[in-house]
């Protein structure tokens, strides 16, 4: 679809830019920021708050890129928060008991545990032919339950963690926190893979039309298993980021995080039907979610209304996005020769 739009080039470069979904989302974001800055009396957009945003929502951003891949192949994974908790808890416990003495190893082990969870989920979905939402609903409970079991319902507290591990989330490089570097690097990788690799194109192919992809010789099961494994690994990485940031591993941590992540993707123009969306959109989507979540209490709205307002803003952002897309599609059709 993007290829077609490029060949048409109706309305010149400027028209193309204005029609882009990403630009429309950017405009929504700017509007949102102006309102927040005005309502919060100028306290929101300061370098300090932006650093806090990047640190607090780095794990959400990381999860969003994993979810992007899953949604692109037409799947969904609502078990990521459980995978995050399980990997984060297991790696923290290994650190607590002295098996892991290097902070880098904690991140690596947590990622590998997540990879294992994702691989199993991918196998069940691809080989067992279980609907993704059903399979991951099941794993959401199984993995969360296992988190309670391995932790014996206890928490790992900051004094039982490596000082270097908790310090990691506070340090920065070139003025950008390490946690933000993680999601920026991941963003670039996902962007490049989706745009310029065979694997990236196969992901879009499976999501847009699985039958056609199969006929053209793509091993659909392999793509599915790979994507769910990558998503699991990303959730595992997010688990280590979470425990490092909050210096505490709690068995019920990040419960419900999958909803913010799915919302971020949808705001970013990723279709739940698969095959549509990109990394730039997902990045803008998660930034929007982060800004909304962080600023709600700053704009002076009663706590009881904050949840409802969050929902309204999400719907508005999606609505603008859908309208722009519909307009785009129409333009594309207009340009077609009959």
């Amino acid at each position: 679809m993007t290829v077609k739009q490029k060949t048409l080039k109706k309305g010149g470069k400027l028209g193309e830019v204005l029609r882009s979904r990403e630009i429309s989302l950017l405009l929504v974001m700017v509007l949102l920021c102006v309102v927040i800055q005005w309502r919060s009396g100028g306290t929101f957009f300061t370098p300090g708050v932006i650093t806090q945003l990047a640190q607090n929502y780095a794990y959400t951003a990381v999860l969003t890129f994993g979810m992007l891949l899953v949604l692109l192949i037409g799947g969904i994974d609502i078990s990521i928060a459980s995978t995050l908790a399980f990997s984060g808890m297991a790696s923290s416990m290994l650190m607590q008991h002295g098996f892991l003495t290097n902070p880098f190893m904690v991140f690596l082990v947590s990622t590998l545990i997540g990879l294992g969870c994702g691989l199993i989920i991918g196998l069940v979905i691809a080989k067992g032919k279980v609907l993704p939402i059903i399979a991951t609903l099941g794993f959401q409970y199984i993995v969360r339950g296992l988190t309670y079991v391995i932790s014996d319902s206890k928490w790992v507290s900051s004094d039982e963690m490596l000082p270097a591990f908790t310090q990691f989330s506070l340090d920065s490089f070139l003025g950008i926190p390490y946690l933000a570097w993680i999601f920026l690097v991941l963003f670039v990788i996902v962007l490049l893979v989706l745009k310029w690799t065979e694997f990236g194109r196969q992901i879009y192919a499976v999501g847009s039309n699985a039958e056609a992809a199969k006929i053209s010789g793509i091993n659909i099961d392999r793509i599915k298993i790979l994507v769910y494994s990558i998503n699991g690994a990303i959730a595992g990485l997010a688990g280590a980021m979470f425990t490092s940031k909050y210096a505490s591993a709690q068995s019920n941590m990040a419960t419900g995080a999958e909803m913010d992540v799915i919302a971020a993707c949808v705001i970013g123009g990723v279709s739940l039907n698969g095959g549509q969306g990109n990394a730039v959109g997902a990045l803008l989507g998660v930034i929007t979610i982060a800004i909304i979540s962080k600023s709600l209490s700053l704009v002076g709205i009663d706590a009881f209304w904050q949840q409802a307002l969050k929902g309204v803003i999400i719907l508005l952002a999606v609505a603008v996005n859908v309208l722009v897309q519909r307009n785009n599609d129409r333009e594309v059709l207009k340009g077609r020769e009959i």
Binding site: N56, S153, S158, L170, Y246, S248, M253, S297
Partner: protein
């Protein structure tokens, strides 16, 4: 081929059921050594399911949920007290903390098991009452601990609302140096306990001239999530540059708040209710939280077990009278809000730089 798969699936299910059955049986057998202290007191059981229990009396505790260290400590206290009294002990967890049907199912199960007393940390203030009436009709003593519900005979109150609010206000007053701005970071905006404490704090501050120079700037809600609590703490710091104290009457909130304040390097002090093992790194005179409070969940659990015994023994009288439980402590009987009666375990306990390490090892 399909038949084969179906057969395999059926086998797996059967195996799963057997494994689950085995899993359920294990806790009762692990409890057994505690009760088997007195070998003479081991009569034959009519009911084979109760076989490992030495005494024919069993008390049960129903927790709010699994995965909560605070609940676990309460369960531990309950178990210890049961062992000390020589009665059997059964621990049950509902499948979820949010669906009240799960606690109802667990209570029905316990009625079937013929226990003599049940202590429940209720997940709903109303919905359990019908089930509890059934249990009482079977002659089971019903009490509540941690969170109350109607239908309970006695609520074991971890700490009176006023006592908690008083220590919180006093810590704010002390940490702020008698005057200045402070804020409250609570759990969910709908949390019953937290809202009651916050309301009582308002009353105390309004009633006493001593607190006239304290300026309560805002109450925010962190929903007992690390991420949201951190956001709210940082927002408070950005919004009120002169803020002196943040008071968090919630264990998850106080941890996230202390971490966020410490990371920022701000001079703000954190007061509140916290778990010693979680807060070990943050509590000391020169740290972000000079001292904090909590009741002792082990005491709450053990008090519940002794209260069941006291009710069963007919020691508990009218409102306003006192009774002495088997642990030697005397409690004053008060009128309950949801339960018929209530007793207060004791005043909140202060944790500071000197005792935090010792308590962190316990819970």
């Amino acid at each position: 081929m399909k038949k084969l798969i179906a057969l395999l699936l059926a086998l797996v299910m059967v195996a799963g059921l057997v494994a689950c059955g085995g899993g359920e049986a294990t806790p009762t057998t692990t409890e057994a050594p505690v009760e088997n202290v007195d070998p003479t007191d081991a009569p034959e059981q009519e009911d084979p399911t109760d076989a490992p229990v030495a005494s024919d009396i069993t008390y049960a505790i129903v927790a709010k949920s699994e995965g909560n260290p605070y609940m676990e400590k309460m369960v531990d206290g309950f178990k210890e007290a049961c062992a000390a009294m020589g009665v059997g002990c059964e621990v049950k967890y509902p499948a979820t903390a949010t669906k009240i049907e799960d606690q109802i199912a667990v209570i029905n199960e316990l009625i079937g098991q013929n226990v003599k007393g049940i202590a429940i940390a209720a997940n709903d203030a109303e919905a359990l009452s019908a089930t509890l009436e059934e249990a009482k009709a079977e002659g089971i003593t019903i009490i509540t601990l941690d969170s109350d519900t109607t239908g309970s005979q006695m609520f074991i109150n971890q700490a009176g609302i006023k006592e908690v609010a008083q220590v919180l206000v006093d810590s704010v007053y002390d940490m702020a140096g008698g005057e200045g701005e402070f804020a409250v970071l609570s759990a969910a905006s709908t949390a019953t306990n937290q809202n009651a404490w916050i309301a009582a704090m308002e009353e105390i501050i309004d009633a006493d001239e001593k607190y006239a120079n304290l300026n309560w700037v805002e109450t925010v809600y962190g929903d007992d999530e690390s991420q949201k609590s951190t956001d709210e703490t940082q927002n408070l710091m950005n919004k009120y540059p002169n803020l002196k104290v943040i008071c968090c009457p919630t264990t998850v909130g106080v941890l996230a708040c202390a971490k966020a304040v410490q990371d920022s390097g701000s001079a703000i002090k954190v007061a509140g209710l916290g778990l010693p093992s979680e807060m070990k790194d943050y509590v000391a005179d020169d740290k972000v939280c000079p001292y904090m409070y909590l009741w002792n969940p082990i005491d709450v659990g053990s008090c519940a077990a002794y209260a069941i015994k006291a009710i069963a023994d007919g020691k508990v009288g009218e409102v306003g009278t006192e009774f002495t439980a088997d642990n030697g402590t005397t409690y004053t009987i008060m009128e309950g809000d949801n339960a018929e009666l209530q007793i207060i375990v004791g005043p909140p306990f202060a944790f500071n730089g000197e005792n935090i390490a010792e308590w962190a090892a316990i819970y």
